[in-house]
Subunit: 217 residues, 4 copies
DNA sequence: AATGAATGAGTGTTCATTCAT
DNA sequence: AATGAATGAACACTCATTCAT
């Protein structure tokens, strides 16, 4: 971050603005993509929200799709980073698992953009994620993290053996993700406000219970 | 303007074509909407796939959105109808529940359109489903079906009491739906082909196990 | 009107229905054309308003434009017929002229369709009227009617000589027609409700005065 | 976003093209709208005539209707501006009035678009003019101009008192406007070429005569 | 005589992207 | 680095008219 030592003052200013512009564009794009999906998002709207010129968007990101890919990558990196910070290895297995379920639920709740982004990407058969090497690396770390918890639980006798960490991972995500991504149709089908404060708390309890029953010896 | 005037069995000739055209349009629309979502679907493509004139589409369905609503409604009616036909009330509770989990999974597998349709509808905050009275009626029947199974299970001592049938319903759907809707990103993240025959069978076993552990006394 | 003497009973029925259908179509077309002009009128709307099948419209009138021509012809015949019925030849010249001004004004007021139809026809450079022989015949009678009044007025010493009956005709029409056809923009420009009862009465008085001052010796 | 930012005389380069494009679109739109009315006008044709991209039309004017409104507003401003430039206050009342009648006639002759535009707007019940504040301001100035002439004429004893300037205004417009807007049907009805040079001159003389007789003491 | 299903050419409008400065 | 004008292909939707019965 000692840019001034390397570059003349004029350049420094330009660089700082450039980074800020990129950041504003990314933020606006995340918002627009998550609201309307890749297809429904409008480049003009992103540029306007970012208070940037449309041309800049193309200058920095190449195209709408490449911008989407960057936004998607960042979203995956964000959640994986947050998961790593949970520091589950220092907790007893049961607590670690409960904490992960809770974290997953709360992350989805705080970041509904993540869910819409992933849905959009699956509508497009993951063509953008396929190109992202970094996401794969982060993902491996995540799976091994859950695997470690499982192994510790089996060793302590709390968890039953033979549980596939991938299946468990998927199920932990599923029971939160599905509830939230389908909150609109769900609220109609089940004739209750799935997003009411108490409903959310009840769901979290139900999910923790589901996972613990699933793994317990 | 009555329904019988539109589909009388006698006056085959005049109406047969109309009904056939409507059916072709609906089929093509289901295909196109599920492939590309509401926003990404193209009216021209639907008409072409249906081997019908675009004008007919508007004649019968009013607009792209109304067509989507009809398609969506039909999709919900189809799954609810199929569920009713399972005749779970004559099975022992455990078997009934297992059968429901299996059915849900297999229905999603056979009807990936249903999943994409629901995702699309949630992206639009369920604005179309809100207008559909019939779907609400069908949904109530479905929830009470699961509730009956739970009650029978509690009575027989196999299931523990106090399980919310809505939460259970959501979880049964979630663990299948999430796996399949995110099969593209999932296959990358977890570096395995989630759609391989064996993977699918394994997931079904895992899901049945999850649900039975969740409800068992 | 002794159709039954000429045609067998079965035919009579058909004829009566046919005439009724034609009449309903013409009425509906007059309404729709005068509301929206030739270009803005919708064939579907005409058929619906007439409670007739669209095909009938084409069967009887050939095309939208030919239908418009018929409607227009009828409109001209109607006003010319009404003018002839005024029987102005038996009134003193001044009274005859006043009565004509009054009649013209009131006819336009009662038949706003006539005005819109004529405007529409002029937008199309009178291409439909050109084809109508009958309108020309009726028009001649009308001009000579006004000419007779003028001549009688000159003979009696009330009117000054040398007034062109065509110019007078045009002016009589103009001062009523313009006021009414431009009633919407006029009400804005002059910031008063030109269609209020009193405004209409005032305008009629003003117009009669204008014409009498114009011709008086 | 300020007006001076859009048309600065210095920064010619960037804005000149934009302003020129806007001007070309407006000119083409005036032409197309006056030829075919609002409904009959084609956006494609306007863009083509303007040698501009259709997208620009929407960029600058929002929609076909908003473009129409701008064209209409400009037309009203143009005629009101021209009227103000007549400088009638420095002429004797009679001459001022004659000059106004002559001007009105000649303006309509030179600007047949104005007439068609106004007709189109009245077909749409003045919905666009209603929104235009500027036109109302200009109109007030116009009415008071005629009022001043009348008052001066009454004061000099040339004109009779009690003439409503609005009625006079309407009549001055009417006797020219009607003749010209209905020149196509009129030429058929009266079986004479209303647009022949001599016919036009005769009509102007007739109109001046009509107005002077109307106001003279 | 009457019907309603069907059509192709168009209608206003919007889009992601590029050009000139 | 940044801008705003410009584009062409596509978009949902509509029209007057004809076909099959």
């Amino acid at each position: 971050m000692t840019a001034e030592a390397k570059t003349p003052q004029r350049t420094k200013h330009r660089t700082r603005d450039a980074e800020a512009t990129k950041a504003r564009i990314l933020k606006a794009a995340l918002n627009e993509f998550s609201r309307n999906g890749l297809g429904g998002a409008r480049v003009d709207v992103i540029a306007e929200k970012a208070d940037a010129n449309k041309r800049m968007l193309y200058h920095y990101f190449g195209s709408k799709e490449e911008l989407f890919q960057t936004v998607l990558e960042n979203a995956y990196i964000d959640i994986r980073d947050a998961e790593q910070k949970l520091d589950l290895d220092h907790l007893p297995p049961k607590e670690a698992l409960e904490r992960l379920v809770r974290f997953t639920w709360e992350y989805y709740l705080k970041h509904p953009e993540f869910i819409t982004l992933v849905n959009s990407e699956n509508l497009h058969r993951a063509k953008h994620l396929k190109k992202s090497e970094i996401v794969k690396i982060y993902s491996r770390r995540f799976v091994s993290m859950v695997d470690t918890i499982l192994q510790r639980g089996v060793a302590s006798g709390e968890f039953r053996p033979g549980i596939d960490p991938v299946q468990l991972n998927i199920t932990i995500a599923a029971i939160g993700y599905y509830y939230l991504t389908n909150r609109f149709t769900g609220s109609i089908i089940f004739e209750r406000d799935l997003m009411a404060k108490e409903a959310l708390e009840e769901r979290l309890r139900f999910n923790i219970d589901t996972i613990l029953r699933l793994v317990s010896a």
